[in-house]
């Protein structure tokens, strides 16, 4: 069981992305990197914003880095950010990320027309995240 957020959780997530046929098919023509920001919630055990960078290319994750500096993460083509608790809801599939964006619970920075073309791939990334055996940092 991997702690979220952590390097070990990211490793498990990437491994599952790279073995997912559904994601490979949905993201077959996707080219671009993505940064996730798990925003600080000190009372939940997340003292500072956590930046995760993933390089997604043609249905695979070529590289991923946990805890990248914000100035590096900001260079990603797309940035999705939300408080830690919102991400926890997403991973538990209690919050649909598209609905979450419409409700302002998750914020996307980047070219929205590109994202909507790949909405199935985005949904697969969430499905994969929900399959990672996860222990949440505020529940340890």
């Amino acid at each position: 069981m991997a702690m979220f957020p952590s390097d070990a959780w990211l490793d498990e997530y990437v491994e599952r992305i790279n073995s997912s046929k559904e994601y490979e098919e949905a993201a077959a023509t996707w080219e671009g990197d993505l940064a996730y920001v798990f925003e600080r919630e000190p009372d939940k055990g997340v003292a500072e914003d956590v930046w995760v960078w993933v390089d997604l290319w043609h249905g695979k994750c070529r590289e991923a880095r946990f805890g990248v500096p914000p100035e590096e993460g900001e260079k990603a083509r797309f940035i999705i950010r939300a408080p830690y608790s919102r991400w926890k809801e997403v991973i538990r599939k209690e919050l649909d990320p598209i609905k979450g964006m419409m409700q302002g619970k998750l914020k996307l920075k980047g070219d929205l027309p590109t994202i909507v073309r790949y909405v199935n791939a985005a949904n697969e990334l969430v499905n994969i995240a929900s399959q990672v055996p996860t222990e949440f940092v505020d529940e340890k």
Partner: protein
């Protein structure tokens, strides 16, 4: 947890601006046109109003006097943004186009105000779509 705002107006604004950046001719769908429409995403509990002022498109709170109203779930709205169009309407030869027709027939997607405001619906569809 911090309070969340309503992200739908921001999303629509980004989507339409992104589409106009890619297809500058779509700015002509805004300039010189007037109209008032609502978009209600029921399962997300969010809505907004779109006002064509003749010079620009303003995205506001839900309108009380909309001429056209789209009411649908979030996943249907996402499909509307990438359905192929034929003569400004969802292409029935495409899978997504046929899905839209099915959703309109079974009430999943409700559009009130047509046929009187059909040109407004076509303008909005062309502004929304990324295809």
């Amino acid at each position: 947890m911090p309070d969340a705002g309503d992200g739908l107006p921001e999303m629509l604004g980004d989507l339409i601006q992104g589409n106009i950046d890619r297809h500058p001719e779509r700015a002509d769908l805004i300039r010189g046109h007037h109209g008032r429409a609502n978009l209600i995403v029921e399962d997300a509990g969010v809505s907004c109003g779109l006002v064509f002022t003749g010079e620009r498109l303003e995205i506001q709170s839900e309108l009380e006097d909309a001429e056209l109203t789209f009411r649908c779930p979030a996943d249907v709205l996402m499909t509307l943004t990438h359905v192929p169009l034929r003569f400004g309407m969802p292409d029935q030869l495409s899978k997504a186009g046929r899905e839209i027709s099915t959703w309109m027939m079974n009430g999943t997607l409700k559009v009130t105000g047509i046929p009187r405001h059909l040109p407004l619906m076509i303008r909005l569809q062309r502004l929304f779509t990324v295809t």
